[in-house]
Symmetry: C2
C-alpha cells in the first residue's frame, strides 16, 4: 500500500513549501489566491488529508470533546443521553470536532480520566452531564482551568450564586417553560382542574417544573386560590409503579381531576395506567422528555430539544463561529449559559416550537424578581399557540373495547 501523502508531497507537486500548504489549510486568507488554488488542486489530486496526530502533537489541541457515559442505571428516560450524544456528535462534526467517550466508576475516577485525556492532548474540552450541587468534578476542572460546559445548571445552595457567573458555562432546558407550555395546552382545551404530579420537593429540576405548572395555572385562571393549587399538586418518586399507586390513591380519595401534567414520562406512564384503569380513557396526561415510550403509547410530552442544547454547548465552548476551544474563563460569552425552551410534542409530533431567536435567560427558581416579565412571556406564548390543538388524546386508543 502506498504511503499516505504528506504536506511535503503536496508542496512538491504544487511547487511551494510545506508551510504554504499548511497555511492554505489553516489560514487560507493569508495566501495569495492563485497560489492557494494551485495548492488546493494538488491536495485534491493526491487526496491529501492532514494527519490528525501530528497536528495535535504540535498544536496541543485535538478538536475533540470528551463526555462521560452516564453509568447510572437509566430507566425509561435513558434514551435522553443517547439522543443528546447524537446531537452533540453531529453538530460537533459540523464544526470539525469529534466526540470521544469514557466511563468512570466514581467522581474520583472520573477526575483521573480528565487528567489522562487532557495530558495526552486527547480532548480539548469536556461536557458534563448529570451534575450535582457542589460537584467535585466541576471544582477540579475549574481549578485546572480545563474548558468544560455542563448540561444542567448549577442548582443548589452553592450553585445558586454560580448561575449568573459568566465563567461557569452551562446549558439547560427550561423545564419551567416546558411544563407551563403543557399546562397552557390543557387550559386551551377548556380544562380547569389540571393537576401536577411531581417529584418530592427539594430537587432543583423537579421544583422548577412544578413552578412552570403554577405559572400557567395562575396566568390562565387569574385569582386562583393557593389552596386549590396546593390541592392539585402531589408527588411520587421517579418510577412507573409508584406514580401509578399515587394517582390511584388520590383518585380513590376523591380528588377531582380533569387532566394531569407530570414531571417525567415514567411518572406520566404510571399516571396514565392509573386513570385508564379508573375508567377514564380520555383523561389527558402530559409527560416530560418525549421518550420513545411516550411516543409509542401516544403520550403527549414536553420535548427537550436536545439539538438546540447541543448547538448551545458548542457555542459556549467555541464561540458563535469559532472552530477552536476558547480558553477556560475567557469570558467570551457575556452570559456564560443558555436556557433552551422546550417544545410540546403531541403523540410524537411537534405542535409548537419556540422562535429561533436566542432565548432570554430565565432565573433559577430561587430568585423571584423577574416574575412579572415571565408572566408576560407566558401570556404571549399562550396567545401564539391558538388554533393548533393537538389531537393526541383523540387518537389515543388505550381504552377498553366495548
Amino acid at each position: 500500500m502506498a504511503q499516505l501523502p504528506t504536506v511535503e508531497d503536496v508542496a512538491r507537486l504544487a511547487g511551494v513549501s510545506r508551510q504554504t500548504v499548511s497555511n492554505v489549510i489553516n489560514t487560507p486568507e493569508i495566501v495569495r489566491p492563485e497560489t492557494r488554488e494551485r495548492v488546493e488542486t494538488a491536495v485534491r489530486e493526491l487526496g491529501y488529508r492532514p494527519h490528525a496526530s501530528a497536528r495535535r502533537l504540535r498544536t496541543r489541541t485535538s478538536s475533540t470533546i470528551g463526555i462521560r457515559l452516564d453509568p447510572l442505571p437509566r430507566g425509561i428516560s435513558g434514551a435522553i443521553q443517547d439522543r443528546f450524544l447524537h446531537a452533540l456528535t453531529e453538530h460537533a462534526a459540523e464544526r470539525g470536532f469529534r466526540v470521544t467517550l469514557f466511563t468512570a466508576r466514581d467522581p474520583q475516577h472520573e477526575i483521573e480520566q480528565y487528567r489522562s485525556l487532557r495530558d495526552g492532548a486527547d480532548v480539548d474540552a469536556f461536557v458534563l452531564t448529570s451534575t450535582v450541587s457542589d460537584d467535585p468534578r466541576i471544582e477540579w476542572l475549574a481549578r485546572e482551568r480545563i474548558p468544560f460546559v455542563s448540561f444542567g445548571r448549577p442548582w443548589g445552595a452553592m450553585g445558586a450564586h454560580d448561575v449568573g457567573d459568566p465563567e461557569r458555562l452551562w446549558v439547560d432546558v427550561d423545564g419551567r417553560a416546558g411544563t407551563a407550555l403543557a399546562t397552557q395546552h390543557l387550559i386551551g382545551r377548556g380544562l380547569r382542574r389540571i393537576g401536577f404530579l411531581g417529584w418530592p420537593e427539594g430537587s432543583g429540576t423537579g421544583d422548577d417544573r412544578r413552578a412552570g405548572w403554577g405559572d400557567a395555572m395562575r396566568a390562565g385562571f387569574p385569582g386562583i386560590a393557593d389552596a386549590e393549587l396546593a390541592e392539585l399538586s402531589f408527588e411520587t418518586v421517579e418510577a412507573v409503579a409508584a406514580a401509578r399507586v399515587a394517582v390511584e390513591r388520590h383518585l380513590a380519595d376523591g380528588l377531582e381531576l380533569e387532566a394531569l401534567v407530570c414531571v417525567s414520562d415514567s411518572v406520566a406512564l404510571g399516571a396514565m395506567m392509573a386513570v385508564r384503569e379508573a375508567g377514564r380513557p380520555h383523561f389527558p396526561v402530559m409527560g416530560f422528555d418525549n421518550t420513545p415510550v411516550a411516543q409509542a403509547v401516544g403520550l403527549s410530552s414536553v420535548d427537550q430539544r436536545l439539538d438546540e442544547v447541543a448547538t448551545s454547548v458548542l457555542d459556549l465552548l467555541l464561540g458563535a463561529t469559532g472552530r477552536r476551544v476558547l480558553p477556560h474563563g475567557s469570558g467570551a460569552d457575556p452570559l456564560g449559559h443558555r436556557l433552551v425552551t422546550p417544545s410540546l410534542s403531541c403523540a410524537g409530533r411537534v405542535t409548537w416550537r419556540p422562535s429561533r431567536k436566542p432565548t432570554a435567560p430565565r432565573p433559577a427558581i430561587t430568585s423571584e424578581k423577574r416574575k412579572s416579565n415571565e408572566q408576560e412571556d407566558v401570556d404571549r406564548r399562550h396567545r401564539a399557540r391558538r388554533g393548533r390543538r393537538c389531537r393526541a388524546h383523540r387518537m389515543f386508543r388505550w381504552r377498553r373495547r366495548k
Copy 2:
C-alpha cells in the same frame, strides 16, 4: 503552569535513557527488574503520562475504536445502542482503548468518515452496527483492509457464505436461543398454546427468533403438528399500535392462546395492551431486548447481554489478551465470530444466565445440519432451569381493579 513531564524528564530523574523509559512502559519484560522499579518510581513521582498524540504519530496507532451513532429514528428499542456503547466503552477502557463517535448521513458519507478517521490515525478499528446484507461499508472496509467487527452477523444471500469466513469478524446475539429460552420458560409453567408474534418473514433476525420458538415448542411437545405451529405464529410490523391491533384481531377471530412470545419489546408492549384489554390480566407475554420500558411495565424479556457482546467484539479485534488491534484478515481467531447466548430477564430481574464457557457457534437459520445438536442443547438447558420459576407474572399489576 508547569510543562508536563516527558520521557526525557523521567529518564533524567531515573538516571536512564529515553528509550528505557519507553520500554518500561511498553515492554516492561525486557527491562531489568531493578531498573524498571527505578523508572516506575520516577514516573510516579513526576506524575508522568505518555503523550497520546506523540505516540500515535510515531506508531500510527491510536488505541481508539470508532463507531457510528445510528441515525435511524429509534423507537422503544433505541436504548440498545446506548447500552452497547456503554459496555463497549467500559470494556475498551479496561484494555487501554477509547471509543470515538461519528455520524453519517448515508453509507457514502460514512465511508468518507472511515477514510478520514483512518488517515488521521484517529482510530485503529471500527465497530459496525445495523449492517444490512451486502453492506457497501463492509465491502469498502474489507478492500482497504481496515480492521473492523460488525455487531450483527452477515445475513442475506451474499452474507450467508460469509458467515463461516474467519476473516469476516462479527458478533451477534443468538436470538434463536433467546426466544427458545423464553418459550421453555412458559412451557415449564405448564402452558401449551404458546404463540409467537413476529415480524413479517424475510428479516434474518426476525426469522431466527421465530425459529427459536419453533425449536422449543417441538422439543417441549414432541410430535406437535406443523399445522398447530403455523396457527400459533402470526406477524406484525415493529410498532406498538400495529402489534396491538394484530393481537386484538387474532383474539377476536377466536385464536386460542395461553401465552405469547414476541419478537421485540415494542411488539410485546402492544400485545400486552391487547390481552389486558381483552380481560386477561395474567396472560403471559415475553418481549425481546429487555428495554427500560419492559422493565418499567414489568414485562419479561430476553436480555441481549450487551456486556458479553462488547467483550466479544474486543476479543475479536485485539485477541484474547492483546492490547493492539490485529491486522485485518490476520485469521488470529479460528472462528472469526462469536454468538452470544442471551439470558432471560423476568420483570427486570435476571433469572437464568448461561455458563461462562465460550458459547458454541450456532449456524445461521439457512443451514439446517446441526439441528440435532441444538436440540440436545435446548433440552439440557431446559433441565438446568428447573426450580427457578420467575414470578414476573404474579407480580404483574396491570389488571383492572375490582
